[in-house]
């Protein structure tokens, strides 16, 4: 029989935990939920747009009552739990209902703090926490004129804006001199205040309220200096307190909140707690992003997966007032150890400040243009060393060069018909509709339902922005430590570390050791695991072909009609009459539909049937050609120019150098494809500065450049260093590739990897530390011993024959024929 799980609190954290639990083990528990509010679950953060009238209550319901029925969850709505009997393991509700539990989850959220000043009980004094509060505010707005909001923080300003939209004359009273002092610095706060004033809000700063006056209902608010202002409605938005009364009363250890461990357990291990009611490692939270991370960990433990720990969150904030762009994250006040980087353009209303310590971002405040907020937030959470970006960082992550979107990057201003995802033809309207109708919260959900950003990914930033814009607040904020995929809680880095440390030498071993949740993983994790195994154990690791994407399994690239392409290697972009003749012969003999000169300086043959491949490869092999790995997450091409041999400007033999680089590195598997180039002089005809590694020859030697990309998002390389000899170039190539191979995440190209770890780190590893460079280069060469067998030659000789032939042929009328 399933164990019993009782949940106290039918809010965002509690229900999210249940959802996570149902996802991983729907049978584990009989679930009962008590909720003090009289509905299913709704998206609390969207109360602000309900108050402004931009949304209705039904728009923000995330789980209607049918959801509880469909998922066999018993819901007691409108019923508060008043007692937990920990000995009998039973909860007792206000109306006498009882429920026994094996595990209990407390998710009671928090209570708005009400300043106990005279008059705080008068009718017309409300807080801003639940739907009931919103109803009372809208009701008051219909009848009365003057509203006073006490508190100039996030909630206060959203309440004030909403009441103003409802037609009231609103004054915000704030005890401090600047608004949102916990999220904004003075400059941004003042910019915010003036734009809110322009919209019609009134402010009283540095004002201390003393009493609320009135007979039947509020009439005035009085300040410490004796002045009074008229008020028909007073909203108290001065802060929240974790709702831990019930826990305290039941003898569960509480401090400022219910104290929980990294596994979300309270001091009574049968009792878990998540959400705003908890205190974890001394911190309480008031935003949803951390709660969702807690929910995930908690669900995992309830389902006895026993993995995953909550280690705390850094949070970021946005203000949900339509038309106001504001973002803040981390510690933005700084101290004597920190420096500030500031960009301010008063006339266009843009302000950005980064607080930096030891070249790492500690906090960010942005006003006016927040498109780069999520980028700064990632740099902050990853602890990326920004020394090399300092000069440009305030200008943002050059969105120039994102292919497929023209100049569009402001989602709010876009028309519904604007195409967001160029690969799958998904428009803004489609995404917004799916997000609203299907109640989507995460990027993954949007990808699954609309296909937007599920192909090349260049529109990911736009989709995230659109999601945040539509859903509001921090909903889209991805958890910091992302699991590799839905089959595990482990991150890429954790998996890689385990493979090395535990000597896991096959995909199966990894999945068994790390307790994979699905029997055979999925199409996302298996190729990643296989790469990690092959990279860590080039000699003994088991290369599992069934875990490779089709292209790498059959060493040819699948085309839209199920045929394949064949692209032989042309070392450094050079070829010979003999090779060209062999290609021409094959093309004729096999009736090749398209012969195309690729973007990588070689020739591609398209439209071949799988069965034909081994025979074609055999012929190309005979002319001395091998696989070009155009299909693999592997070394692709080394593009070269003719260099010193012919060109009047050439300074070194770039062509021969390119050939050497390709001979050194071909056959290596890499986290994503890897491209190189060598140009004979700074005119750079081989476009070395948009390659993963590019060499620009100069009179005194060779300039090395890394981390370029010419695809979805153009990124010019970063300059690494100069070297004097070809041998050194090759050593650096080997070392750089090995570092990338060992440390990048699967499907992460050098450009994003470099931005994540920072150029300084790569320089430390490769340029400054000679021993380390030599060590990495040696590892690379060692690994290459096992990689440089031409896969085409092996298959032309019969390896993996089953891959290329049907198992049987059956004629119509079921006449048997040999395959």
């Amino acid at each position: 029989m399933a164990e019993k799980l009782v949940v106290i609190g039918n809010g965002m954290a509690g229900i999210r935990t249940i959802e996570e639990l149902l996802k991983i083990d729907p049978q584990a528990f009989d679930i009962t939920v008590f909720g003090a509010e009289p509905y299913g679950n709704y998206n609390r953060i969207m109360l602000s747009p309900v108050l402004t009238g931009e949304k209705s209550f039904t728009d923000i319901v995330t789980h209607d009552e049918q959801w509880y029925v469909d998922n066999a969850v018993t819901l007691y709505k409108g019923i508060s739990v008043t007692e937990i009997d920990r000995v009998k393991r039973r909860v007792i509700a206000a109306d006498g209902t009882t429920a026994d539990y094996d595990r209990l989850l407390i998710a009671t959220g928090s209570n708005p703090f009400v300043i106990p000043m005279p008059g705080h009980n008068l009718p017309g004094v409300v807080t801003f926490r639940d739907m009931h509060d919103v109803d009372s505010m809208i009701d008051a707005a219909n009848k009365y004129k003057n509203a006073v909001v006490i508190g100039g923080g996030l909630l206060g300003l959203e309440a004030a804006n909403g009441l103003m939209q409802q037609g009231m004359n609103v004054t915000v009273v704030h005890i401090m001199d600047t608004l949102m002092e916990r999220q904004l610095d003075k400059v941004a706060a003042n910019m915010l205040r003036s734009s809110l004033e322009e919209r019609g809000l009134n402010f009283m700063m540095g004002a201390q309220t003393d009493a609320i006056l009135g007979k039947e209902r509020v009439e005035n608010v009085r300040f410490a200096d004796g002045t009074e202002i008229a008020a028909d409605l007073v909203v108290m938005a001065v802060g929240i307190r974790p709702n831990m009364e019930l826990a305290l009363k039941s003898g569960i250890h509480c401090e400022r909140g219910i104290v929980v461990s990294d596994t979300m357990q309270t001091f009574d291990p049968r009792i878990y707690a998540v959400g705003e009611c908890v205190q974890h490692r001394g911190i309480t939270y008031g935003l949803v992003a951390p709660l969702f991370e807690m929910a995930k960990v908690c669900a995992n433990h309830l389902a006895r997966y026993g993995i995953g720990r909550y280690v705390g969150s850094v949070t970021s904030t946005k203000l949900k007032v339509t038309g106001i762009d504001l973002f803040s994250a981390g510690d933005f006040t700084g101290n004597d150890q920190t420096e500030e980087l500031i960009f301010q353009d008063a006339s266009s209303g843009v302000y950005r400040k980064l607080v930096v310590q030891d070249n790492k971002i500690q906090g960010a405040v942005m006003y006016g243009d927040t498109i780069d907020g999520s980028w700064y937030f990632d740099l902050l959470r990853d602890g990326t060393d920004i020394s090399d970006m300092r000069k440009n960082i305030l200008f943002g992550q050059a969105h120039l060069g994102d292919s497929g979107h023209g100049e569009n990057n402001r989602v709010a201003a876009m028309a519904d018909s604007a195409e967001i995802c160029g690969c799958n033809g998904v428009c803004k309207g489609d995404i917004v509709k799916a997000v609203v109708d299907k109640k989507l919260f995460t990027l993954e959900d949007v990808r699954a339902h609309t296909k937007a950003s599920s192909s090349c990914g260049s529109c990911t930033g736009l989709v995230e922005a659109l999601l945040a814009h539509t859903v509001g607040g921090d909903f889209s904020t991805a958890p910091h430590l992302k699991p590799l995929c839905g089959c595990t809680e482990h991150t890429h880095d954790e998996v890689r570390a385990a493979i090395v440390k535990q000597e896991l030498k096959s995909v199966r071993d990894v999945m068994t050791f790390l307790e994979w949740k699905t029997p055979d993983g999925c199409s996302k994790c298996r190729p990643a695991l296989n790469y990690y195994v092959v990279c860590a154990w080039p000699k003994e690791g088991m290369d599992d072909y069934q875990s490779r994407f089709i292209n790498e399994r059959v060493h040819a690239n699948i085309q839209k009609d199920g045929t394949y392409s064949v692209i032989p290697r042309m070392w450094g972009g050079g070829t010979t009459p003999q090779e060209l003749r062999a290609i021409a012969d094959v093309a004729e003999e096999y009736n090749v539909k398209t012969v195309h000169v690729t973007g990588g300086q070689r020739i591609g043959l398209y439209g071949l049937k799988k069965e034909q491949l081994p025979a074609i490869w055999k012929k190309l092999n005979a002319a001395g050609m091998v696989s070009g790995h155009a299909y693999g997450k592997a070394l692709r091409t080394v593009k070269t120019c003719v260099g010193k041999e012919w060109c009047r400007f050439g300074t070194q033999d770039s062509t021969q150098l390119g050939v050497e680089m390709e001979k050194l590195s071909w056959g290596s598997w890499t986290p994503h494809k890897f491209k190189m180039a060598a140009s004979g002089c700074p005119r750079n005809c081989a476009e070395a500065t948009i390659k993963d590694l590019g060499v620009v020859c100069v009179d005194s030697g060779y300039e090395l450049h890394v981390g370029g990309n010419g695809g979805v998002k153009v990124r010019a390389t970063d300059y690494l260093c100069n070297v004097k000899t070809e041998e050194e170039v090759l050593e650096y190539v080997a070392a750089f590739m090995q570092l990338y191979r060992k440390e990048a995440h699967y499907l992460e190209r050098t450009a994003p990897w470099l931005e994540r770890v920072g150029l300084t780190y790569v320089k430390e590893q490769i340029v400054e530390n000679e021993t380390n460079r030599k060590q990495l280069a040696a590892e690379f060469r060692e690994s290459q011993q096992y990689m440089q067998d031409d896969p085409w030659a092996e298959r032309a000789q019969g390896t993996d024959k089953h891959e290329f032939e049907p198992i049987a042929m059956v004629m119509v009328g079921n006449q048997a024929v040999p395959a």
């Binding site: 192909s455 999925c522 699948i558 049907p806 059956v810």
Partner: protein, 119 residues
């Protein structure tokens, strides 16, 4: 492995042995009405599905097999091997075909199960 196919009255065609198909892999049976993909799961269950993805016709036989599902190689839709249905939220199906395993020999019927128009 090339196998002579043999018929019996019930329309079953012998197509080969279990070990002709790699675990977590597939092979194709070529028929005049198009290819049928025959899959083998990790625990040696065999399924036969029209080799044509409901999305844009991708060859499912070339996909990565996991659990009782296959991920289409072209755009990564996932298809249930037992029902031929696409995994939600994608919608569509590929027809399934009866298979029978006797000892280690696989028999296939080329008459599709009813229910899916994508035959």
């Amino acid at each position: 492995m090339q196998t002579e196919t043999v018929m019996n009255e019930k329309n079953w065609v012998e197509i080969g042995k279990i070990d002709d198909i790699p675990r977590l892999g597939a092979r194709v049976v070529r028929t005049e009405e198009g290819d049928i993909a025959v899959f083998r799961t990790a625990d040696d269950e065999i399924f036969a599905v029209r080799d044509k993805c409901p999305h844009k016709g991708g060859p499912l036989s070339q996909g990565i097999v996991h659990g009782k599902k296959v991920a289409c190689p072209l755009h990564n839709w996932n298809i249930h091997l037992d029902s031929g249905e696409a995994v939600a939220p994608d919608e569509g199906c590929a027809a399934t075909y009866p298979v029978r395993v006797t000892g280690t020999t696989i028999y296939l019927s080329t008459i599709p199960d009813t229910g899916c128009p994508n035959q």
